[in-house]
Symmetry: C2
Amino acid sequence: MEKLYSIQEVSQILGISKDTLRYYDRIGIVSPSREENKYRRYSKDDLIDLMNIQIMQYVDFSLDEIRGTLNIRKMDNIDPVYCEEVSAFLDAKNAETRKKIAHLEKVSQLLNIAAETLRNFNIESDRRLAKIVREIYMDIRGGEPKYFKEGCDDHQG
Amino acid sequence: MEKLYSIQEVSQILGISKDTLRYYDRIGIVSPSREENKYRRYSKDDLIDLMNIQIMQYVDFSLDEIRGTLNIRKMDNIDPVYCEEVSAFLDAKNAETRKKIAHLEKVSQLLNIAAETLRNFNIESDRRLAKIVREIYMDIRGGEPKYFKEGCDDHQG
DNA sequence: CTTGACATTGGAGTCAACTCCAATGTTATT
DNA sequence: AATAACATTGGAGTTGACTCCAATGTCAAG
């Protein structure tokens, strides 16, 4: 007979709070079996599902997205069409991730230049800062900033 | 006499909703002057503040953080100690950003391998996937995953 | 039986950054 | 005066992922 885990055991093993586990049950993400006293009993497969959830959350999947992909566990043989769908989904997610990385690289650059400019005011760093702020503002608004001033005022980030 | 802008004008110029502008006023981030009829009147300096807010939000500052840094605008001469504080804050923000980038690079790698594995099951890609999932799980929990299985089941991401 | 540690349910609250809506007032044009 | 487009305020709602809490039941050990 396979070992079943209480909610407290699962919480300790996986570092997921009991309330969160109840929440996942309530919204239908991971629904363990129940004893006669209504206590939840988690199987090893339930624990694997939960671990997959943790990994997918690391990857920034929403719970809705997670709900969609967990279903593949339940299938006896692997449907190639479904695998292709998930694969395409993962590719889209990756494209999104690459975009975020590009955004954060620009942010990092801006923060570098802003910090440097605050420490050491000179024409060159002012110029570099103004340049990147313009680029960023184009990202934000798709146009040139109309009201722009030189000096420390612009160095907020 | 300097031109003052109505809330509708500001909203159109900067692409910030009127309700958001009122919200910023209410929480004390940008508080324009008022006419006798209580209508808000934004100065050019208010607009510059709002543009700085947009840039700082691009950089992922919370409104609380933004509130803290906007004060530098209000000072007649620049206090070097304050500049050093802001500079240090920007450095900390940048370190955070670099961490996020590292995290996202790992995510991107995982998504790549997962998608590839789903498209083309073979020992090599399974192995690579298992390896990176283990690394990620160590990030999440600081330990080895205890209940691990091979196969498509693990390929959720 | 008592006590303490566990469980359950139902339902509301938290968070940050907005967003919506009703009621009311203001302005400018016809 | 009527109308339309603007403004205001106050206050509640939205979002997604939890988190808290009161009331009640269950279990195991002393």
